[in-house]
C-alpha cells in the first residue's frame, strides 16, 4: 500500500520502520531537516521517500506524492496539524483512508465526526491499526462514553516481574480486572486461569483506570 505519513518525530520514525517491514511504500513529510536526515539515514530502501516540508500545506503534500497514496497517517505532535493534514488529504487530494494521532482524547470524537477515518490516542497502537481489524481507538472510545472508569492497557511481562512464571490463577488480579489477550511470539491467545505468564509475553489488560497502573507496573517488573 502507498502510505503518506505526516510527521517524522519518534512516532513517525517507528511507524515508518514498522510499515516498511510490512512491505508498504512510505512517503513521509517532515518539517525539520535534521529529522528528515535521520530518517533517510536510518532506512536504505527505495520504498521510502522523505519530503522536507509542512504536511499541513497542500504544496508540500503534493510534492511528497500524496496523489498516489491510499492512506494518510498524521502523527505530528499537535492535534490541529494532524487534523488539517487529514482534511487536506481527504477533501483536497481524495485520499481514501485517513488516520490521525491525537493528544487530547476528547478530539477522538471531534476528528471522527469531521471525517477522519481512524483516530488513535495511543502511539503504541498506530502501526497495528493499519493491518489489523481491531481499531483500538474505538474500543477506548466506547469505554470513555459507556463506562468512563474502564481502560484497556498493554504490558510486556518483565523478567523481574513477581508474576513472571506464575499461572494466572496464582496472581490474584483485582476484582473486575481481566487479562483480555496474551501474545507470545506470533500467537495470540485468550488466557485462562492455567495460563502461565512468561517473560516477554505481551498482555492486554482491561480494568478500572485507578487500579491498572499498579498491576501494569507489577507485570512489567519495574522496581520502584
Amino acid at each position: 500500500m502507498n502510505i503518506t505519513i505526516v510527521g517524522g518525530g519518534n512516532v513517525g520514525y517507528y511507524l515508518t520502520k514498522t510499515l516498511l517491514a510490512e512491505k508498504h511504500r512510505i512517503m513521509l513529510i517532515e518539517q525539520s531537516m535534521p529529522r528528515c536526515e535521520r530518517i533517510v539515514a536510518a532506512f536504505n530502501t527505495s520504498n521510502l521517500s522523505v519530503t522536507h516540508g509542512d504536511g499541513t500545506d497542500a504544496e508540500s503534500l503534493l510534492e511528497s506524492g500524496v496523489r498516489d497514496a491510499e492512506a494518510l497517517i498524521a502523527v505530528t505532535g499537535q492535534d490541529q496539524n494532524n487534523f488539517v493534514a487529514c482534511q487536506l488529504g481527504k477533501d483536497y487530494f481524495g485520499v481514501k483512508r485517513t488516520i490521525a494521532r491525537v493528544k487530547n482524547p476528547k478530539n477522538i470524537r471531534v476528528f471522527e465526526k469531521l471525517g477522519v477515518n481512524s483516530v488513535i490516542s495511543s502511539t503504541s497502537r498506530i502501526a497495528g491499526s493499519i493491518n489489523q481489524e481491531l481499531d483500538w481507538s474505538d474500543v477506548n472510545q466506547l469505554f470513555l462514553q459507556a463506562a468512563s472508569h474502564v481502560r484497556v492497557k498493554e504490558a510486556i511481562i518483565g523478567e523481574s516481574s513477581p508474576f513472571c512464571g506464575k499461572r494466572l490463577c496464582e496472581i490474584g488480579l483485582p476484582k473486575g480486572m481481566i487479562m483480555v489477550c496474551l501474545v507470545r511470539g506470533n500467537i495470540a491467545l485468550i488466557p485462562n486461569g492455567e495460563t502461565q505468564l512468561l517473560a516477554d509475553d505481551s498482555v492486554i489488560m482491561l480494568g478500572a483506570e485507578t487500579e491498572l497502573p499498579d498491576v501494569l507496573e507489577a507485570l512489567r517488573g519495574k522496581v520502584k
Binding site: A58, D79, Q80, F83, D91
Partner: protein, 137 residues
C-alpha cells in the same frame, strides 16, 4: 448577534471591541489570559481562557447559541480546526477563518471555509493606492 472570536491578538481584540460597541454580544477565546488586556478596560466583551479547538472551551464560550465564529489565532491550523468544529459540529451559521499564508488560501477554501487573508488584503490595498487606475480594471 452572538459572536465568538477565537484569538485575542491584534485582529481579534480590535474586532471584538468594534463588534461589541456596535451592540453585538461578543465572547473572546484565547489560550493566554494575559492577551485579554488588549481588550481594554471599557470593553463589554466576555472572555474565555483556553484552546479554541477544545470542545469544552467552545461550549463554555456558548458555541451552542452562537450566530457567528471568527477564528483569528496566530496558528492557521488552529483556525481551520476551530472553524470546522463550529461549522460541522455546532452548525454555526457564519464562520470566518483567518489564513496567514496566502499560498494556502485556495486549499483552505476547498475545505468549505470562508477565509480572510490579511497579507493579501494589504497587498491589494497597497497596489490600489499605487496605481488606482489598474485597480479599477
Amino acid at each position: 448577534m452572538y459572536i465568538i472570536i477565537a484569538g485575542c491578538g491584534k485582529i481579534g481584540s480590535n474586532l471584538a471591541k468594534r463588534l461589541s460597541s456596535g451592540g453585538h454580544d461578543v465572547v473572546v477565546i484565547d489560550a493566554d489570559s494575559k492577551s485579554f488586556s488588549l481588550l481594554g478596560s471599557a470593553s463589554n466583551c466576555m472572555s474565555v481562557t483556553g484552546m479554541p479547538i477544545d470542545e469544552d472551551v467552545l461550549k463554555e464560550a456558548g458555541i451552542d447559541r452562537a450566530d457567528a465564529l471568527v477564528s483569528v489565532t496566530g496558528d492557521d491550523n488552529v483556525n481551520i480546526m476551530a472553524a470546522q468544529m463550529a461549522r460541522q459540529l455546532y452548525h454555526v451559521p457564519v464562520v470566518i477563518t483567518r489564513c496567514y499564508d496566502p499560498a494556502r488560501e485556495e486549499a483552505v477554501r476547498t475545505l468549505g471555509l470562508t477565509t480572510v487573508c490579511p497579507a493579501l488584503l494589504a497587498v491589494n490595498k497597497i497596489c490600489g493606492q499605487l496605481s488606482p487606475e489598474e485597480d479599477k480594471l
